[in-house]
């Protein structure tokens, strides 16, 4: 019982981290770029959402499978193909949850306007410096929302994980699948316990994140 929990935390934590690392610059580019095609990229980022997760998982399976070019590439990098590995799970979750991070963060960057960045530039902050020391702190509520949505969604993520993870105990059998397993195998008591535990835990994590964000804002 403890194994899926740890695995889930590891997956959600890592996925959220990667989502923030990838999603934030992407959101920044979407917020700032003047390119005419940027909205197309914006729409593409949101697309994984419209496919049912299992179907998305199916396509990821095909795309990353050992017979595909991407799969071949992965094999030469990781030594194994991505599906049915933890790495594959992380990749799938990242793709699936990306829009939940990109959209709120992008909005936060856009709401901020140019002014603080102009002030930073006149104080000799390079664009990178401004990004880290002005834009990111100012976008904190958006980043937090992105992180909460991304984290929660990865914890509850299931279709993609089931499809490309393959429900392998200790490797890709995360909590959501474990609960699903219990439900499907008529072990409802275990399912109830796990679900309740998961809800309480997530409630606490989210509440703590939100309250601490609020306190940071209040401290001013």
């Amino acid at each position: 019982m403890i194994e899926p929990i740890l695995l889930t935390l590891k997956l959600a934590g890592l996925t959220t981290l990667i989502l923030m690392v990838l999603g934030t610059p992407l959101a920044w580019w979407l917020a700032r770029s003047q390119a005419w095609w940027k909205e197309a990229i914006g729409a593409i980022v949101a697309l994984p959402l419209v496919l049912p997760p299992t179907v998305l998982g199916f396509y990821l399976l095909i795309a990353l499978g050992p017979n595909s070019p991407l799969g071949q590439l992965a094999i030469s990098i990781f030594g194994h193909s991505l599906p049915f590995s933890f790495t594959g799970l992380v990749i799938g979750s990242v793709i699936y949850s990306l829009p939940f991070v990109v959209q709120p963060v992008r909005n936060a960057f856009e709401a901020m306007g140019h002014k603080p960045l102009e002030a930073a530039a006149t104080l000799r902050a390079s664009p990178l410096d401004s990004f880290f020391n002005v834009a990111l702190p100012l976008a904190r509520p958006g980043l937090l929302t992105g992180a909460v949505l991304g984290f929660a969604h990865t914890v509850g993520e299931f279709g993609v994980v089931l499809m490309i993870g393959g429900n392998i105990p200790g490797k890709t059998k995360v909590l959501s699948i474990a609960i699903y397993d219990h439900v499907e195998s008529l072990e409802w008591t275990q399912a109830h316990i796990l679900s309740a535990g998961m809800l309480v835990f997530s409630f606490c994590v989210i509440l703590i994140m939100m309250v601490s964000e609020k306190r940071m804002r209040k401290r001013r």
Partner: protein, 214 residues
Amino acid sequence: QAVHVAVAANFSVPLKEIAQAFQVKTGHEALVSVGSTGKLYTQIANGAPFDVFLAADQKRPRLAEEKGLAVMGSRFTYAMGKLALYPASSPDVLTQGDLVRLAVANPKTAPYGQAAVETLQSLKLYVPLKDKLVYGENIAQTYQFVATQNVDVGFVALSQVVDKPDKWIVPAHYYQPIAQDCVLVKDSPAARAFVDFLKGETARAIITRYGYGG
């Protein structure tokens, strides 16, 4: 050495028991991955690390053999699924006027669903009841519809209600037999040992106890 077994959802409970017995006897660990037959097949086609595939039908294992995804000639029927109507003591509930909804598994993806439809057709009830059907993704979900009392009655696997008194076991001639096949995906001594164990007495007893035909 570990054997990786992929099993169709309806057989997951008996299999877990079998796996335990298998480990006690041979010392090999059996890792169980549960999924729907269709999904498991797709995964095997895309390099899933399964050694043994226990499907809910015969089609997918055969396909796996044909496409070279499994060891040729290793296929065999490990269980015969039986259909039950639950909660009901006879098919009469199906003709009662206050029947609102009847749950079956999706006939397109689940063999038990196909069997349920065939049963209804045999009873000449399919057309009159068509609008009352709701479909579970698989047989487990179908059971959940019934168990949560959202439907009045449903066609489920006998294995799911084997210890429940108020069921009507559908006579075998009402539907095509649900032969569930097993196939060896990757050849290894441990996997062979598992397949052999599945064919053996201990496993057979468990399978029968869960309401499958041999």
